[in-house]
Subunit: 205 residues, 2 copies
DNA sequence: TTTATTATCATACAAATGTACCATATACGA
DNA sequence: TCGTATATGGTACATTTGTATGATAATAAA
């Protein structure tokens, strides 16, 4: 029998090489040859793992969302009922606060932009968008039902506001890291969450 | 003397053709040949207006920001002192609410994503980011100084929060237009501005 | 009308890229 | 040890793309 190589592990290794290429050179540099070199493979060997470039890129995009989902799922949230600390921790997972998540989100931004004109990528982009929107609805909904939030909030409106705030912060951190520090990102998020709860208006963490 | 053609007008016409190509096919389709066809020019004629593709794309990107700046400048804001209606009108200019601004913002998103790995585009991207950040600071600052806002607000934090909210809404509208209506965008913005002003918490337009 | 200057077009050419194909190396089972 | 299935490497080829070059058309001034 043949040499034993974990086919799926190799595909992930190649996809992660694609991430690095995309991050440093953009999607325009995400050629089969460049990705092969980054992965330490020969150009011809790529064919054994991906039948086409678009299949490779689609896999690389899906791997980003898989990783993010996994990270969120592994948090074991709300084990003892809803609480704001867990909600905040979850939302912070959606901000580029460390090297790993920054890489993933920059790659995700590249794919999202491309998905606007690439039907192959659109379904997954939409799927992730909708899932995160659901997360926002769950958080805001729980805040309202547990009366953590101040009364009278519009669930859907607040969910969209929170979602836009998160993605706006993430976008700004990627575009202008020197202008928006991780501490400021966290402060804005904390302040926003407090503003949804406080009956008066003072800040608490 | 030669045939008379407004050189600058032609450059803008070509740049707008580039916008259309980018919107329908992404930056990957923004080839000199495709743009020439969209502009109704021959491939060879392009050379008379742009010496290289990167010069063309840089011009097309700059034209987006010029148009947005011009639109904001022409609003003649705060003619009779600061007021919330003008502030809201200004902020709405930064949301993709009609066909024209949607086109411009989708193109801007493509260029912004590319600027992360293209040193040629980064300066202008940063410049626009900083200018808009200043707009946010001006608005929040004016709200505070005129006591339109409730007391105790952190100017820088609220500016970043407002900025992130605007860009997040714009991004979501582009990525998932079916999930975020113009009416909802406006409602979220209105609600957010009110939340900065109202001493109690009720909504007013 | 003639001419010079500009606009436009057509084409050539090298480089890059995706895909396909074939050769070689490798390792596990018989 | 040997053979087979798999991994990997090398290369050919058509296509696309940016750039460069030369030819032609058009127009306004002399």
């Amino acid at each position: 029998m043949p040499k034993v190589v974990d086919h799926d592990k190799q595909r992930e290794k190649i996809a992660e090489a694609a991430w690095k290429v995309i991050r440093s050179g953009g999607l325009a540099q995400a050629t089969v040859r460049n990705i092969a070199q980054e992965a330490g493979l020969s150009f011809g060997a790529m064919r054994h793992y991906f039948n086409s470039q678009s299949e490779l890129l689609r896999f690389a995009m899906n791997l980003v969302s898989d990783r993010v989902k996994e990270r969120i799922r592994s948090m074991r949230l709300f084990a003892s009922g809803f609480n704001m600390e867990d909600a905040k921790r979850l939302l912070m997972q959606l901000l580029p606060l460390d090297e790993e998540s920054t890489l993933e989100m920059e790659v995700w931004l590249a794919f999202s932009a491309k998905s606007l004109s690439d039907p192959e990528l659109k379904p997954r982009s939409d799927e992730v968008y909708d899932e995160l929107r659901k997360v926002m609805m769950d958080i805001v909904g729980a805040m309202i039902r547990t009366e953590t939030a101040k009364p009278g909030l519009d669930e859907e409106l607040e969910a969209e506001r929170l979602y836009a705030l998160i993605d706006g912060l993430a976008l700004h951190r990627m575009l202008r890291p020197g202008s928006l520090s991780p501490a400021m990102m966290e402060a804005v998020l904390t302040h926003h969450l407090n503003s949804l709860c406080d009956k008066e208006g003072s800040d608490r963490t």
